[in-house]
């Protein structure tokens, strides 16, 4: 059933072509802006944060590709949940014999699948044509292992990002207007997730803070796995961190959900 939900969600997102291409365009343009900024920066400080120039440029384009997929700037499919909470439609959802958290994860996975084929691939292809991007290197086996690890890291990143956004959307049961908290979430996750700049560039104190927060599991970790920043053990450790956050945050979401459901009633009338 959840697979069917995922497929429907993929189709739902594919109905908005114009919005998709507007996003692809925006992400690509920002890719260029950031790339030139990075080039200027790395020119002055080569190997900043432990990345050489080509790794840094690749980092930019991974970021532009994953921005929509991981729904950093918005709530992704959970924008729908948020609307349903705000207008009370969520009450009808609760009548059905489905688990809400799993249901929306399936919806969000469908959305991410669609974004992968459009918003992720197109900007990265454009970036790849304009600049030299670094793909996983080494002997065939090692490169293949890196691709596989990246795939796993990406799935885990999506789950962590989903779990975070689920929590943000659920606050709608208490706040109703989420614009404020969404903006805070956007800035925090971009900053501490390493979307603006890798967290290794931060002053040590800030980097420590970033490493203690879950946002890093959303972007910096999959990007570093792709750039082969870790050795085999380090990669497994990084994936483990992602998995840990996924479990903790999904559990927290479940807890908040059970409290939130009680809240529906008071408002539903």
């Amino acid at each position: 059933m959840y697979a069917a939900v995922c497929v429907r969600s993929f189709r739902r997102y594919s109905t908005y072509r114009a919005a998709t291409w507007a996003r692809v365009f925006t992400n690509t343009v920002f890719g260029f802006i950031l790339t030139y900024t990075y080039i200027a920066l790395w020119h002055v400080r080569p190997h900043l944060g432990g990345y050489d120039l080509s790794a840094a440029i690749t980092y930019v384009w991974i970021g532009q590709g994953l921005l929509s997929l991981l729904a950093v700037g918005d709530l992704g499919a959970l924008a729908d949940l948020q609307t349903r909470i705000a207008n009370g439609d969520v009450a009808v959802d609760l009548f059905r014999p489905v688990d809400q958290q799993r249901w929306w994860l399936a919806v969000d996975a469908g959305r991410a699948g669609y974004q992968l084929l459009t918003n992720a691939l197109v900007p990265m292809l454009v970036g790849g044509l304009a600049f030299h991007l670094r793909l996983p290197q080494g002997p065939a086996l090692e490169a293949a292992a890196s691709w596989a690890a990246t795939a796993v890291a990406l799935v885990l990143a999506l789950v962590v990002s989903y779990a975070l956004r689920y929590l943000v959307a659920l606050t709608g049961f208490w706040l109703l207007d989420l614009r404020g908290i969404q903006l805070v979430y956007y800035l925090t996750s971009c900053f501490f997730g390493g979307f603006f700049l890798p967290v290794t560039v931060f002053p040590p104190v800030l980097e420590t803070v970033a490493r203690a927060l879950p946002f890093i599991a959303v972007f910096q970790v999959p990007a570093d796995v792709f750039l082969q920043h870790y050795d085999a053990v380090g990669t497994l450790g990084a994936l483990g961190v992602q998995l840990g956050w996924a479990v903790v945050l999904l559990g927290l979401g479940r807890l908040v959900q059970s409290r939130a459901v009680l809240k529906v009633v008071v408002q539903g009338g």
Binding site: M1, V5, R12, R96, V265, G268
Partner: protein, 329 residues
Amino acid sequence: MDEVLIEVEGVTKSFVVRRRAGRLRRTREVVNAVAGLDFTVRRGEMVGYIGPNGAGKSTTVKMLTGILLPSTGRLRVAGADPVRDRVRLAQRMGVVFGQRTTLWWDLPLRDSYELARRIYRIPEATYAGNLDRCVELLELGPLLDVPVRQLSLGQRMRGDIAAALLHEPEVLYLDEPTIGLDVVSKRRVREFLARINAEQGTTVLLTTHDLTDIEQLCSRVMVIDHGRVVYDGGLDGLHRQGRSERTLVVELERELPPIELPGTRLVRCEGTRQWLAFPASASAAPLVAELAGRYELRDLSVREPEIEDVIARMYGEAEQVDAAVAQVG
């Protein structure tokens, strides 16, 4: 047919609401949404469940569907506790909220049905049969491949009703299924509901503000107000107890002094138009004949009583009873 399906015994539900009182202070207030409900519904019954806004109707439905735990009291649907057996019972009930939709906004109606088939694990043959039936009776054929966002309210409502019935629920909870619909759509929905009730024995609990819904569909009405059942019985009894009145709207050829007609009382008089109220239980025919004989009429129509008025009058009585009980206690 005599089996009790829904049992509600002494059920109450109270919420704590925090209110702002002054700049920083907040007061806690206990709101009794439902204050001691008792009723039973038998299998195959079609019951109208009415009451003013905030009377506790939705709270009742939420408790019956298990998403809300009663504060006290006992509640059983098909012998099971709705909260504990929520997922299992969900397979056996359908819910339609007139102002809410379960359909996928951007996708064709068919996709939402296909998902319902998987959510409720409906066997292929059953699903095909039920879908055909709904499509035929609710005239959904041309709409199946239209994205839901392009449907009119009436079409969407029919789509939602079909979605709630594909898994053949034993109980159907309907909340304002005809709200905002045009006359044709209303009739279609009512005919359909009457039919599934008669043919499949689906038990229906219908919440509405439209008295015609009740008149045409329900042999039994429960009126709830301030979280309590204040009336349970036939519709005629409701009119009697609520002393409800129908209104004759008389349009005269020319302006005349107020009409005096035995059995009616003048409510309003505006130019050539006059409004005469008479008991809802009385027949309008002799009054119309009398008026037509006495005056030159341009037009005449009969207005049905508003359910709110009937209930307001009844509620007035309930409050007096409450006051009396309070004094005695």
